[in-house]
């Protein structure tokens, strides 16, 4: 009764289907224009200072957004794509800040020039630490990242060469008050754009596919021939690179480096929350999450003042997001099929 199965026609049909699938994915229109327009507006924004009205506050808020976009996006490379949640990512933030800050103090070389080196150092340390801690998964990895943060906090608190708990004051940048934030604004903007572009490239590369396979099922990923350990360690190092860079610029922006501005767990909490709130594992998620969380924090400070209630607010928000909104804004919109095109980069 049964007709002999025509192997060739099955294979052809399958190949056609795959090509069609690839074409659908490839031909999906990216809203490049919208994004370029937004970037153009952001790039032109500092010109408002010419009006004579002081716009330092919006400039500060924007550069804060750029900085956290960098950190949340780079966290997302390991935490979102590969599923390894780090609660100590601000270690690299501190390393970057201290490295460039100390060079500035001793040799007068501006952190703007040394930031890539700071990123490289953070990346190297991330590589080394990753070789150790990425051997364990799940909860053990999370704990090890907290321990990492604590180790660096104690080291920097007691390292008298970098000023101990008191830290070090950096030389001031010599610019009139309305322009003093502008160089930092562009530096953070540039790093943020670079980070998001790299994050996008990784997501759509074989490397990114490997990371996502690791987050789904590491054992199967490994048996499929993925060098899971190296993938994870490299993801960790890449992610540390950008965090180190913004750390360097941030220390210079504040004019001082001190353990308790870099190495506090609230920063780590914020990074994680931003990525999850926006949608972890998506390219645009960390950006959306950062904007929302910074607006939320600013509102809390505006209504209640800068108190410990910020910590409480972060905690409550984290619980609510994890329990009721685990896919985040971008993830939930994408599932419902209403994701605006300019946010669709996955």
């Amino acid at each position: 009764m049964s007709k002999a199965l025509d192997v060739d026609s099955v294979l052809t049909a399958r190949r056609d289907y795959n090509t069609q699938l690839a074409r659908v994915v490839g031909s999906r229109k990216r809203a490049v224009g919208t994004v370029l327009a937004i970037l153009a507006v952001l790039a032109a924004f500092p010109l408002v200072q010419l009006s004579g009205i002081n716009f330092n506050y919006p400039l500060h808020m924007l550069l804060l957004v750029f900085m956290y976009v960098t950190m949340a996006s780079s966290w997302n490379i390991l935490g979102g794509y590969a599923g390894y949640i780090s609660l100590g990512h601000n270690v690299f933030f501190g390393i970057g800040g201290y490295f460039s800050g100390m060079i500035f103090v001793f040799w007068g070389i501006s952190p703007f020039l040394t930031a890539p080196l700071a990123g490289l150092l953070a990346s190297l340390i991330g590589f080394g630490v990753g070789l150790i801690t990425l051997r364990v998964r799940g909860p053990s990895f999370i704990i090890s990242t907290i321990a990492l943060l604590m180790i660096f906090r104690i080291l920097f608190d007691n390292w008298q060469f970098v000023g101990g708990t008191g830290g070090v004051t950096l030389p001031l940048i010599d610019l009139p008050v309305e322009w003093v934030k502008v160089p930092y604004y562009y530096a953070f903007l540039a790093i943020a754009v670079l980070t998001v572009v790299v994050s996008y490239k990784i997501k759509h590369s074989k490397f990114g596919l490997g990371l996502r396979a690791i987050s789904q099922d590491e054992v199967k990923a490994e048996s499929a021939g993925i060098d899971t350990r190296m993938y994870k360690v490299i993801a960790f190092a890449i992610s540390a690179f950008f965090v180190g860079m913004v750390g360097a610029i941030w220390g210079d922006y504040l004019n001082y480096i001190r353990p308790n501005i870099f190495l506090i767990i609230l920063i780590a909490a914020n990074i994680v929350l931003m990525a999850i709130l926006g949608g972890k594992g998506t390219v645009a998620g960390p950006i959306v999450g950062t904007i929302l969380l910074i607006a939320f924090n600013e509102a809390v400070v505006a209504y209640f003042g800068a108190t410990q209630l910020n910590i409480l607010g972060t905690g409550v928000l984290m619980l609510l997001v994890l329990l009721y909104f685990p896919n985040g804004v971008v993830g939930s919109l994408a599932r419902a099929g209403n994701l605006p095109r300019f946010l669709d980069w996955d």
Binding site: I85, T133, G138, I146, L312, T314
Partner: protein, 293 residues
């Protein structure tokens, strides 16, 4: 020199008891629910605040206040569990997600305590807190001694409870094999609830002792997270005996490090130990490999 080493050992062992009690609740909760409770240390600080205020306002001795702190934290534990953790335990990412949930809980209680009481250093000062017993050249601070002994009593009681009561059987069965326990008729959900409550009660009890052994402030719990983790990871997560042995061992080592290299570095011992254990023997001294999710 010999006297000095004996002295350091005694101080290390006395603190080891307190560390063991702090870690016992954490390891119990992990054993039954596979929840790594990052909020455990903040609940210890809650217990410390209960003892602190009972002493300040009513002059109640912290050791007497211990059951009160434990009872209060038991109640908090039941509420927190019902609100937050009593849900999709079947989700494969449950273990990882609960770590973040406990992180959120820790932030909430940290924020509340810091808002109410501010981050100033506090310590409860009952009469014995600054006293010491002398045996020849060796002195034993009574605070550490009492705290260590009381801790051992509580741990012994916990052990007896786990060993000889029906609830204890159920908890141990669930720790060993959750689905098998369920098949044998153990109400696993109820056991989880009770265990979470007991775990937090132990945190509260430990907190009452901590209040006169260490100075404490809300933000200190971040440091303790890694300390407690190192203890239970060394012993093998989920093992009560492992936690006790780990606590005494690391406390001794930390005491020696503190003696030879200075107090600041003694805390570092725990964090470095955590790294080294994860590196060479992630399953700890007594445990099987930590369940990977």
């Amino acid at each position: 020199m010999a006297t000095a080493l004996l002295q350091v050992s005694i101080l290390g062992l006395a603190l080891g008891g307190v560390y063991a009690l702090m870690a016992s609740g954490l390891t119990l909760i992990f054993g039954v629910m596979r929840i790594v409770n990052l909020a455990h240390p903040i609940f210890i600080i809650c217990g410390a605040f209960v003892a602190y205020w009972l002493f300040r306002l009513y002059g109640i001795d912290p050791i007497v206040a211990m059951p009160i702190a434990a009872a209060l934290l038991f109640a908090i534990g039941i509420v927190v569990y019902k609100l937050i953790f009593q849900r999709d335990a079947q989700n494969p990412k449950y273990s990882e997600m609960t770590v973040l949930l406990t992180f959120g809980v820790a932030l909430v209680f940290d924020g509340l305590l810091a808002y109410w009481f501010s981050n100033t250093q506090r310590v409860t000062l009952p009469s014995y807190a600054t006293d010491a017993i002398f045996i020849d050249d060796i002195f034993i601070p009574t605070a550490q001694l009492y705290a260590g002994l009381v801790s051992l009593v509580v741990i012994a009681a916990l052990w007896a409870f786990l060993q000889f009561t029906r609830t204890g059987y159920a908890i141990r069965a669930t720790t060993q094999n959750r689905s098998a326990a369920q098949l044998m008729g153990v109400d696993v959900a109820h056991v989880s609830l009770i265990t979470f409550g007991i775990g937090l009660a132990l945190a509260g009890a430990a907190g009452a002792l901590v209040s006169f052994v260490f100075s404490f402030f809300p933000a200190k719990h971040w440091e303790w997270i890694a300390i407690l983790m190192s203890l239970i990871v060394l012993g093998g997560m989920g093992k009560l005996l492992g936690a006790v042995v780990g606590a005494f061992l690391l406390s001794l080592i930390a005491a020696y490090v503190g003696y030879f290299a200075g107090q600041t570095w003694s805390t570092l011992t725990f964090f470095l130990a955590l790294f080294i254990i994860l590196l060479i023997r992630p399953q700890g001294l007594f445990g099987e490999k930590l369940e990977e999710t």
